[in-house]
Amino acid sequence: MPDTAVDGDVLLNADEIVKHFPIKEGIFFKHQVGSVKAVDGVSLKVRRGETLGLVGETGCGKSTLARCITRLFPLTSGHLTFDGADLSKLSRSQMRPYRRGMQMIFQDPYGSLNSRRRVGSIIGDPLAIHNIASGDERKKRVQGLMEVVGLNPEHYNRFPAEFSGGQRQRIGVARALALHPKLIVCDEPVSALDVSIQAQIINLLEDLQGEFGLTYVFIAHDLAVVQHVSDRVAVMYLGKIVEVADVKDLYSTPRHPYTNALLSASVVADPDKARVRDRIILTGDVPSPINPPSGCRFHTRCPKAQAICSTEEPLLQTAAGDPAGHMTACHFPVAEGEKLASGKATILHAVEGFLAEAPS
């Protein structure tokens, strides 16, 4: 992967990370019949103090990647260094001391908190696991954390069910914060929340980043949210990163046709802008990660695909005229101002076809 001078201070370096889940068959003697190639050679760097946004659609492997860089999953292959330490091959118990440096915030504010334990014990869990504080000291620190995330410390003895979704997500944030981690991986932290609550959590995460010098990897499918919180953004498609750039560059001059399609599909909360937009409508569905397409994985749906796209995999590299940090994996990057095929006409065609067939 081409290295450049813009790296700055790298906190986490993932190099050619691969995660395949074997598919096994057989009743008595299981044998592998294939594998889901969830993450298939992803390299990225996360710099100290930045927020790296990770976007992509369902099944693109972004959540698997999150669990690879936090080493909740063993890696199929590839190298992972965090804060100078090589974590690629550590076992679960060897990983334990490094867990203090990296934490996760999960998507589901209901499922990620143990409903049978009290809030104080949930937030204090990391302190107990790592033998950092116990008894009154733990309680004091937990209540301090509750205050930091905007929860009433008096609610220490309540159960998660007694809190609303937004408050529960604050509990999850407090738990992630307890060990003073350097990196927090946020896996869709706001997508299960109501709109007004989303903004509360986003603001909270921003404040905490400033206060504690946190580094975030922020995973979301909502492009507006990612744009709002991120310094840099990586776009994933079928287990690969197709484009990575500073947030401004990516949103103003997206190079990869998939990024273009994603951006044009995302609806903005502005009736004037939302209506004039001619969206790029992709045909078909995301192919199966068990049997990903050859060459460029996007070629089956790409409006710009040519012969070479199905045979040769494009490298993630800087296109001519782009800043060094803007890298695209495409043989034919989209030029500024270039119009990709419109979707409106295709759909109108389908509608008219249907109405011609259907009896009135």
Binding site: R67, T70, L72, R92, S93, M95, R96, P97, R99, R100, Q103, M104, F106, Q107, D108, G111, S112, L113, N114, S115, R116, R117, D125, P126, I129, H130, R141, G144, L145, E147, V148, V149, G150, L151, N152, E154, H155, R158, F159, A161, E162, F163, S164, Q167, G172, R175, L179, H180, Q200, N203, L204, D207, L208, E211, F212, G213
Partner: protein, 325 residues
């Protein structure tokens, strides 16, 4: 860095923020108790169980009041002039006497002790073993699960009466042996359910969260997953008690459990063998108490299961609706 330095106003929601009011302060246990209180069958079952427990605890008291011990043959007044047992209602013998002149009421009270001790202790052992085995099998999966699950299958398909006969013939019958035999044949029922639950719980996000915090397997199993299995385990345990009581009665009836002259409902029934219709009180009273006890535990177990099941909310809601507001 200090945790108290964040400008509270910037991030904090004012503490007055109303939590979701409707569900405030309701733990699952409180919900169950509240639901059980509307269930007439459950209340009657609890009353019956409490009475039986009182009977068992008060057994020495009954013996003292009547002046008959559980194994006293009461040579002076326990039989009539012809040496025949006394029918119920005879002076000093509320439920009559058996052919040796022993007071049936006192023997039933002492028998209740045996039944309850066996029922509760055997269930407790079976539950603990079942939970541990089930948790390990379900949580770890793989070869450990294969072995443990097969062992439980074998236990469940064992001809347990034959097994008990062999054990008793080797070790001689005793209360501890009875309890161990019953516990051994019961743990698999709990273990299988716990295994299934643990299998599904370990896929939950809170388990992944615990992993990400660095929690070890033991901690995840016993601190995180176990509390989530309490509900099904309580139901199973409640239903296991009557099974264990019947198991004990069966063993004692066959002479493999509690040995005479120590009274147990099972060996009282076996004592009554061959008395036919003349001395009906020999077998009717132990049977009634056995039936009442097991029925009460079974009905309570069913009620607890219904109360724990969120899908039955409709029934409970209808029940509430019927009551005048």
């Amino acid at each position: 860095m200090s945790l108290s330095t964040v400008d509270a106003a910037a991030t904090a929601v004012p503490p007055e923020e109303p939590a979701v009011k409707g569900i405030e302060g309701r733990t699952p246990l409180q919900l169950v108790v509240q639901r059980l209180r509307t269930d007439r069958v459950a209340i009657i079952s609890v009353v019956v169980i409490v009475l039986i427990i009182a009977l068992a605890i008060g057994a020495p008291l009954i013996a003292a009041i009547t002046g008959h011990g559980p194994t006293d043959t009461n040579v002076d007044n326990g039989t009539d002039a012809n040496g025949q047992p006394l029918p119920p209602g005879s002076a000093g013998y509320l439920l009559g006497t058996d052919n040796l002149g022993r007071d049936i009421l006192v023997r039933i009270a002492y028998g209740a002790r045996v039944s309850l001790i066996v029922g509760v202790v055997a269930t407790a052992i079976a539950t603990i073993v079942g939970v541990v085995v089930g948790l390990f099998a379900g949580y770890y999966g793989g070869w450990l699960d294969s072995i443990l699950a097969r062992i439980m299958d074998v236990v469940l398909s064992f001809p347990y009466v034959l097994f008990a006969i062999v054990l008793v013939s080797v070790f001689g019958s005793s209360l501890p042996l009875t309890i161990l035999v019953i516990a051994f044949f019961s743990f698999a029922a709990i273990g299988r359910i716990v295994r299934g639950q643990a299998l599904s719980q370990r896929e939950k996000e809170y388990v992944e969260a615990a992993h990400s915090l660095g929690a070890g397997n033991m901690r995840i199993m016993f601190v995180d997953i176990l509390p989530n299995l309490v509900a099904p385990v309580i139901v199973l345990a409640t239903l296991l008690i009557p099974t264990a009581i019947i198991f004990e009665a069966t063993l004692s009836f066959l002479g493999l459990g509690i040995a005479l002259p120590t009274p147990s409902w099972g060996n009282m029934l076996s004592d009554a063998e061959g008395v036919g219709f003349q001395a009906w009180w020999f077998y009717i009273f132990p049977m009634i108490f056995l039936l009442l006890t097991t029925l009460a535990f079974n009905l309570l177990g069913d009620a607890v299961r219904d109360a724990l099941d969120p899908r039955t909310e409709r029934i409970f809601a209808a029940r509430r609706k019927k009551k005048p507001a």
